[in-house]
């Protein structure tokens, strides 16, 4: 799936992508057309490139070169239309020729900056000296463009005559002069057109190199943006393995928000074997955020980014699929249960032939607990035999499935000195995970409702009826 479609489905990942500071529309296009990568070598290569760039961002010796390079990238135009015309042997316009010269010029300057930073092997911009020379017959060395006199011997005398006819000293018959001027301009424009046609034909052979330069420059933009984000957010390079092991995993958006507000954010460690893992924990214990953070980390890795954790080992999967939140689709006339169970069913079927990272948040919570429990038990049993990874959160106890279980430590009154209320309750939650060998989910719903200051009669009655 292309990144442009993926970000529509995953808000956490969308935030990561939108935070990339790209300088050029070409970089933006390259980013959006990235595919979900299942090729270990390609990913390692991409991460190698990121690791090559990262130290340069911190090196003050390269600060000015980086500023210059970013400035060149800002000047980069996405001229795919012009290049397509060139490939199809169409005659360009003067503005198109300017654009080609501009690209050749920028490529030349960026090649210099890139080689100064020793990144030639990472960003291998082709040489466009021939293109530039063709469009700079007077060796001006700048990216301005017009149909220079030297392109055709007829141009200089014509332009001289144009100036003479229009000069203030010329006091001949006005109508006659206007006619002569008009004729001369027409002949002048015809010659310019011949030159443009000739140049277009000559440039056709360079179409592929020009395209390569444009794409490589776009890649350079993307790589710099990714590296800058990795440095700013302190992301880590993932290792590829056959299991999930993340230390200090964070949800990037929540983490950035908490940091900017000076709030505590507790990173989480998690290790998963293939098959299913059931996650239990009190309400408000961050189970859903955990699923989103894990999904986001996997997506970041397989779209060639570093991930938001201290250390990360991740498997390569065929896809990341989440069933999180209320899937009720009023337009399709489905209830929340119907939409959810259909989505789970589809992905269960996919998991038989594909290696998925499947993230399911509290399945079957909207139906009666007896059947709900049975559905979760069967789902967990079926997923447990698969090659992929499934993370399922639940409040149901007594599922009796022999699989990995993790529990969020949850509410701990000793964590803060503040009075406990709806605003401060997050400060009292320990979000860390522990291996859980029991088959019972925590029963803390009433306690949390009480701490949140819910109606006392409701809580007392509920307690009495337990």
């Amino acid at each position: 799936m292309y990144l442009r479609d993926r970000i529509k489905q995953d808000a956490a990942f969308q935030y990561v992508v939108q935070s990339l500071e790209l300088m050029s529309p070409v970089g933006q296009r390259r980013l959006m057309s990235q595919a979900f990568c299942r090729d270990a070598d390609a990913l390692q290569h991409e991460w190698d490139n990121l690791e090559r760039v990262l130290p340069l961002l911190r090196d003050t010796a390269h600060a000015q070169t980086l500023v210059d390079l970013r400035h060149q990238l800002m000047c980069l135009h996405d001229i795919q239309g012009t290049l397509a015309q060139l490939r199809e042997h169409q005659t360009l316009t003067e503005v198109d020729l300017y654009e080609l010269k501009h690209l050749a010029y920028l490529t030349h300057v960026m090649r210099r900056d890139i080689s100064q930073m020793g990144l030639e092997t990472v960003v291998d911009l082709p040489k466009l000296g021939d293109v530039f020379a063709l469009l700079d017959p007077d060796n001006t060395g700048i990216d301005n463009f017009y149909i220079y006199d030297s392109y055709d011997p007829a141009l200089a005398p014509m332009r001289k005559e144009l100036r003479r006819l229009q000069s203030d000293d010329n006091t001949g018959d006005d109508a006659e002069r206007q006619q002569a001027l008009c004729d001369l301009l027409d002949r002048h424009d015809a010659i310019q057109q011949q030159v443009i046609a000739r140049l277009s034909a000559q440039l056709t052979t360079h179409a592929a190199t020009l395209q390569e330069a444009l794409e490589t420059a776009g890649y350079c933009d993307l790589l710099l943006a990714k590296a800058q984000q990795a440095a700013d957010w302190q992301l880590c390079r993932p290792q590829l393995g056959d299991h999930v092991a993340l230390r200090g995993l964070v949800h990037p958006q929540l983490f950035q928000q908490h940091q900017s507000q000076g709030l505590r954010y507790q990173p989480v460690d998690i290790a998963l074997r293939s098959g299913v893992c059931l996650i239990t924990g009190a309400n408000m214990a961050g189970k859903t955020v955990l699923l989103k953070a894990l999904g986001c980390a996997q997506l970041m890795a397989q779209y060639g980014l570093f991930v938001a954790a201290e250390t990360a080992t991740l498997p390569l999967v065929d896809d990341v699929v989440s069933c999180i939140g209320d899937d009720q689709d009023a337009l399709q006339g489905l209830s929340s249960f119907a939409a959810e169970i259909l989505r789970i069913s589809t992905n269960l079927q996919r998991s038989r032939s594909e290696r998925l990272l499947l993230l399911i948040d509290e399945p079957a919570r909207t139906t009666n607990p007896v059947e709900g429990c049975a559905i979760v038990r069967s789902l967990a049993t079926l997923l447990n035999g698969q090659a992929g990874f499934a993370l399922v959160t639940t409040h149901y106890s007594g599922l009796g499935v022999d699989c990995q279980r993790l529990r969020v430590r949850g509410f701990d009154e000793t964590l803060s000195q503040q009075p406990i209320n709806a605003q401060s309750i997050n400060q009292f939650i320990d979000y860390s995970l522990v291996e859980d060998h029991s088959d019972t989910a925590p029963h803390e719903a009433l306690r949390i409702a009480e701490l949140l200051g819910c109606d006392t009669e409701l809580i007392q009655k509920a307690k009495a009826s337990l």
Partner: protein, 335 residues
């Protein structure tokens, strides 16, 4: 060589026509010629589309814009292709307008061109900055006073207003209409601190209290106020309209008690859709108008010929206008 000296100290100058056929283009051509003769490097651009060979409303022949060697100009890609001069492209802005990219070029061999330009004020401002960065001290803006345009010519430092028989063939009416527009152009600008605060407000109607704090009145537009006019002034006596001030609203505000304490603030004079009569009434009762952006009105150009062929006595008209406006007035055909 009238008024060329007066505009030299400015960084940007717009030429704004009160109506079509008021001689804006003749005036621009005059300035371009004189500045060229003095060896002043200038750039020229436009708001929206201008410089058609034939006036599209009255189908009268329209003078084209003539550019001289060394002049920079900005126009759309489409109009660049139609140019009748030799020029060198120095930049292309690919944020597309309806007519393609905007091309910045330098004239190598004089000739004629159709100008079109930025559609938004922000873009126009950036263009002027970029031209200055290229070492061009003065940018002329062919500023169509089209109220449909989002870009306002008032971001330029100075302004020349073009008036003429096209506005009215009755000299008295012409004077009174021109005087009214001049009085709007010359409305005072609010203090810089408040201007910076208000220019960030892109929508709604805001009441400013005595401490300079802006309160949202809850009306998305001044056109939606209806009969709740008094509600607008709950927190203060100054009101900022991010959009337009309609004649109807001004009439209603003029009837409020304490109108003499009220100041209405518009973005610039092009956002005032008011008639001279209503403004006079409001002003007589003591109400004030102010703007965020004011450009210095340096001169008025006058075209004695109306598109229908009427011709006013130029000398008398110029003298009457000049006296009424307190500004030099020049006949575009005689300068």
């Amino acid at each position: 060589m009238p008024f060329v000296e007066k505009i030299l100290p400015y960084r940007s100058l717009s030429i704004v026509g009160m109506e079509k056929n008021t001689g804006k283009t003749v005036c621009l051509n005059y300035l371009l010629r004189r500045l060229h003769e003095r060896g002043v490097a200038v750039a020229v651009t436009s708001i929206g589309i201008d410089g058609e060979q034939v006036d599209s409303v009255y189908a009268t022949a329209k003078p084209e814009i003539t550019l001289y060697e060394g002049t920079h100009f900005i126009t759309s890609e489409q109009h660049y292709r139609q140019r009748r001069l030799v020029s060198r492209i120095v930049d292309v802005d690919r944020q597309h307008t309806a007519l393609g990219s905007l091309v910045t070029a330098e004239v190598l061999c004089r000739g004629k061109v159709i100008l079109s330009g930025a559609a938004t004020t922000e873009k126009l401002r950036r263009q002027i900055d970029e031209l200055e960065a290229r070492g061009i001290p003065l940018t002329l803006v062919d500023g169509a006073l089209s109220r449909l345009s989002l870009a306002s010519p008032t971001i330029t430092d100075a302004m020349v207003l073009a008036t003429g028989a096209a506005v009215s063939v009755n000299l008295q009416q012409l004077v009174s209409k021109t005087r009214f527009v001049c009085s709007l152009v010359r409305l005072p600008a609010v203090e810089p601190a408040l201007r910076d605060k208000l220019s960030r407000l892109t929508s709604g109607v805001w009441c400013i209290d005595d401490d300079g704090v802006c309160h949202d009145t809850g009306f998305a537009s001044a056109l939606l106020v209806g009969s709740h006019v008094a509600d607008l002034f709950r927190q203060g006596r100054r009101l900022f309209l991010s959009g337009v001030l309609s004649d109807r609203l001004l009439r209603q505000i003029a009837t409020l008690p304490h109108v003499e304490e009220i100041t209405l603030i518009a973005r610039d004079f092009t956002k005032l859709f008011i008639t001279p009569e209503t403004y006079a009434d409001y002003h007589r009762r003591g109400g004030q108008l102010a703007v965020l952006q004011q450009s210095q009105l340096t001169a008025v150009c006058f075209n004695p010929t109306s598109p229908q062929g009427f011709r006013l006595d130029s000398q008398r008209a110029c003298a009457t206008l000049s006296e009424a406006l307190g500004l030099p007035v020049y006949d575009v055909k005689m300068i």
